[in-house]
Structures are given as structure tokens and as C-alpha cells.
């Protein structure tokens, strides 16, 4: 049933032809190719449209995903339109049908969710290497006062929720580098003070340079 074929990526069409109409487990969906068209809003409509026709017999538990990913929906749902001879569970009664989350996407979704939660509490500005930032940190033991750390961003390591930046500064004549997780609840404020033009992603060369280059008032 490729009625919404204008929305289907060619890979999904191929998959419908090749997979036999049976009760499919997880594996076929995990092996389907990632779609190339990121149509977010249209895929939502196509989801509700094609659910009313298809017999979605995969999911028996009440595991539904709120965050709908564009790649999943057209392929997961439209593959099941081919399995029309199966148990007609007819989930049309449950109107808001949320598609199944692939186990391979869970890590990405978890990181995204955690970042969203953190951004709601405190938005994180865009920070790149070469920015001179000021960070206000709350130490749990010393809750009355906020510690302030200023310095140049030497590197940024992207790791989902544990994205970190490395700040360098000369404090009392000694070069100090501190690593901050950007989405930590202890960081109360991050402010970009200024920017220095750099031509590197990691400024490790500052360790060998004069202290003057790492001094910030």
C-alpha cells in the first residue's frame, strides 16, 4: 500500500517488497536503511493517515514514544501496510498512536531529552573554541557564594549530555585548565565575554606559549 508513496523514501519501498508478510520482530526494522528526506511535519500527517489503513500488529504492549523521529515513522508504519493479512488488531480506536522506538535510537533520544531538560533550566549559549567565557559555578558545600571562572575555551568535546569545554587561564602565575560539563546543574551561568580569532579547534599550543596569551582580567 504505497498510497503515500510521494513521502516514502525509495529504501522503504524496496523493503516492503522484499520482506514477507509475517509477524515481524525487531530485526527487519533495524536493518532498514536510514531515510534521506527529513520531512518532519508531513511525516506526522502521513503517520496518522496510514495508520487508519494499516493493521499494526507489532506492538502489544503500551510502549509509545512521544518524540516522533522523522526517519522512523514512514518506514516503520508503511512496512506494516504490507502485512495486511495479519491479526487485524485495528488500533484505530487508540487515536494518538505513537510509533515504536528502535532500540538503536534510544541512546540518541536519551541524550537529546536530557539536554532539553537542562536547557529549560538554564540555556547554554553557543560556545566555540577561542571564546573567552565567564562561568559561574555553584559548589554544593559552599552554597552562599558562586565561584567565577574566566578563561579562553581551549577545546570543546561533544558527547551528548556530557559535552565539555576546557577553560585555560593563568591564575597567580600558574596556568590552570579546568574542564566543565556544559549541562551540569551546578553551572549557574555561562557568558561569552569576547572572542579571539583562532585557527584551530584545540588550542593546546597555548601551553607552550607566553603566559601573556592566557591571561584574562
Amino acid at each position: 500500500m504505497a498510497t503515500s508513496s510521494h513521502l516514502l523514501p525509495p529504501q522503504a519501498l524496496h523493503m516492503i517488497r522484499s520482506q514477507p508478510s509475517k509477524k515481524l520482530g525487531f530485526s527487519p526494522f533495524l536493518s532498514c536503511a536510514p531515510s534521506m528526506n527529513p520531512i518532519l511535519s508531513i511525516s506526522r500527517l502521513s503517520l496518522s493517515h496510514s495508520v487508519s489503513k494499516s493493521s499494526f500488529s507489532l506492538d502489544t504492549k503500551a510502549r509509545r514514544e512521544v518524540l516522533v523521529r522523522a526517519e522512523d515513522n514512514p518506514e516503520a508504519v508503511d512496512a506494516n501496510t504490507a502485512t495486511e493479512d495479519n491479526v487485524v488488531e485495528a488500533d484505530e480506536a487508540k487515536a494518538p498512536r505513537k510509533p515504536r522506538v528502535k532500540l538503536g535510537d534510544v541512546m540518541g533520544i536519551l541524550n537529546q531529552k536530557a539536554i532539553e531538560v537542562s536547557e529549560k533550566v538554564r540555556p547554554v549559549p553557543e560556545i566555540r573554541t577561542g571564546d573567552i567565557v565567564e562561568i559561574k559555578l555553584e559548589v554544593p558545600e559552599n552554597r552562599r557564594r558562586l565561584s567565577i571562572y574566566k578563561g579562553i575555551v581551549m577545546s570543546r568535546q561533544n558527547a551528548g549530555i556530557h559535552t565539555t569545554i576546557r577553560i585555560r587561564r593563568i591564575i597567580a602565575g600558574i596556568g590552570v585548565e579546568i574542564v566543565f560539563p556544559l549541562y551540569s546543574p551546578n553551572i549557574k551561568e555561562i557568558k561569552v565575554v569576547s572572542h579571539r580569532k583562532v585557527r584551530r579547534a584545540r588550542l593546546y599550543y597555548l601551553r607552550d606559549k607566553l603566559p601573556r596569551l592566557s591571561t584574562f582580567k
Binding site: 525487531f26 512521544v66 522506538v101 532500540l103 534510544v106 541512546m107 558527547a159 556530557h162 560539563p181
Partner: protein
């Protein structure tokens, strides 16, 4: 008298014949290699008993979790495929022991052999790939084709034991496999990563059984004990457990309540 009889009755390795252990009970249950026989006076928990019903799961990966106070906790994300359905309940009357058999991971019909399919159809469950038993003291309240929901069995903050197959490392030498120390790299030494001496001289004139030597490492079942459940996510059907778990992402895990003497297991 009893202690001499106990020490002679079974061929234990040299480092296990300590008289203190044989003083505890006159039967052969003093070693931890044999299970206590059912003819003992009290029914105690043997090593294969679980402290409660467990579930099977798949390892998904690792990430960091920020606690509300700012502490960063390394967690393993554990997901659940379609499964965790009771397939058979074994009782003392029918099978000689009490256990609950749980299946995991739904597959296509043609992936299972006919005997396996028949066994599952007797319980009326969907085709499942993995079957594992959880041996319990009492099997009340479990019926075939009953789904085990993770949320009801485990809560946040619980301690669990997780068992799984470790990453296979292949044929490894003594240093990696048994944490041996290597020899000197310079100063004229000719032995860097070798085993060194493997025994004494003319007496005993042989190498002891169980001598640690190179061999295949990993790919075995291990159990990591007393891991804390950090978060249970009901929408994604995912659990976060503090620490690292055996295997790579996609690995089958067996999660059971932690067996802590005094809390879950009666002290005997």
C-alpha cells in the same frame, strides 16, 4: 572425628582443606563447590537460588547522568525487547525444584526449531528466542503467559546483580589474563612478558593443576553485583544502571535483585 572425616571424604585442592570450614557442618556442604543435598535439616538458599524474580534485557550503551546535586554518574542504558514472559513454572512436585522460566526477545516463527515452538505453544506465548530460569524459594503468583513488567519488580535506588557474557578477548597471555607483572625491559633482561617460573623443583616435579597460563580470555558469563538503578524511564522502556555491564551494546543481560546476605538471603 567429624573434622577428619570431612577433610578426607572429598578430594579438595590444597588451598581449601582448612579445618575451620569443615567444623561448621558435618555434611559435605562446607565447600562451595557442591550444592547442599535436600536431605539437610533446614532448607537454605543454595547458590543457584535468586533473591527474587528477575528479567532479561539488552545492553544499549553508556552515558553520563547528572544527579540533582551535580554529581556525574556513569550509567549503562539497558533496554527491553519484546519479551520477559513467563513460559513455564516449575514446582517441586512436577520437576523437583521451584523455578520460573522466562522468555525474551520475540523472533519470527521460522527462527525456532519445532521442539522449541511446541514448548512455547504449550504455554500459549509468542515465539521467544532466549529462555532462562529464575530459581526461587516460592513460585506463588506466577503463571504461564504472564508478562513481567520491569517497573513493578525494580524501583529507582534498588541494588541489582547483572549477569552477562563478557567481551571476548581471544588468546591472551599471563599479563592481561591474570594480571601478572612483566619482567624488566632493559638492564639485560631477556624475559619481558613471559610467565617466569611455573613451579618448584624435583619435588613435586610437576606443574599444579590450575596453574595460571595463557589461554582464551573473555566470552564467559560473569555477574556484576550490587549495582544501583539510577533511573527508570517508562516511556522509552529503558533503565539506567550505575556502572559498567558485561558485553558490548546489544548483549543479553540477566538482571536480578542483588543477593545480599542478611537482607535478601537468610543467614544460615
Amino acid at each position: 572425628m567429624a573434622m577428619t572425616m570431612a577433610s578426607l571424604s572429598f578430594p579438595s585442592p590444597l588451598h581449601k582443606t582448612n579445618l575451620s570450614s569443615s567444623l561448621s557442618l558435618p555434611s559435605k556442604a562446607s565447600t562451595f563447590l557442591t550444592k547442599p543435598s535436600p536431605k539437610r535439616r533446614t532448607l537454605t538458599i543454595s547458590m543457584s537460588m535468586e533473591a527474587g524474580i528477575g528479567v532479561m534485557a539488552s545492553k544499549l550503551g553508556m552515558m553520563s547522568f547528572f544527579e540533582p546535586d551535580g554529581t556525574v554518574v556513569p550509567v549503562t542504558v539497558v533496554g527491553f525487547r519484546e519479551g520477559n514472559i513467563v513460559t513455564q513454572v516449575k514446582t517441586l512436585a512436577t520437576d523437583g525444584y521451584d523455578a520460573v522460566q522466562v522468555g525474551y526477545r520475540r523472533v519470527r516463527d521460522k527462527k525456532l526449531t519445532k521442539p522449541e515452538t511446541g514448548h512455547l505453544e504449550k504455554a500459549g506465548v509468542i515465539p521467544l528466542r532466549h529462555l532462562q530460569e529464575f530459581r526461587l524459594t516460592s513460585v506463588e503468583g506466577f503463571e504461564p503467559n504472564q508478562r513481567l513488567v520491569f517497573d513493578e519488580i525494580f524501583k529507582e535506588g534498588d541494588l541489582v546483580d547483572v549477569a552477562g557474557t563478557t567481551i571476548g578477548k581471544g588468546f591472551q597471555g599471563g599479563i592481561k589474563r591474570h594480571n601478572f607483572k612483566r619482567g624488566q625491559m632493559t638492564h639485560g633482561s631477556k624475559s619481558h612478558r613471559a610467565l617466569g617460573s611455573i613451579g618448584a623443583g624435583t619435588t613435586p616435579g610437576r606443574v599444579y593443576k590450575g596453574k595460571k597460563m595463557p589461554g582464551r580470555m573473555g566470552g564467559t558469563r560473569t555477574k556484576i553485583r550490587k549495582l544501583r538503578i539510577v533511573k527508570v524511564d517508562k516511556e522509552l522502556n529503558v533503565v539506567m544502571i550505575q556502572g559498567a555491564l558485561p558485553g558490548k551494546p546489544g548483549n543479553l543481560l540477566r538482571i536480578t535483585p542483588a543477593k545480599i546476605v542478611g537482607v535478601n538471603i537468610p543467614k544460615n
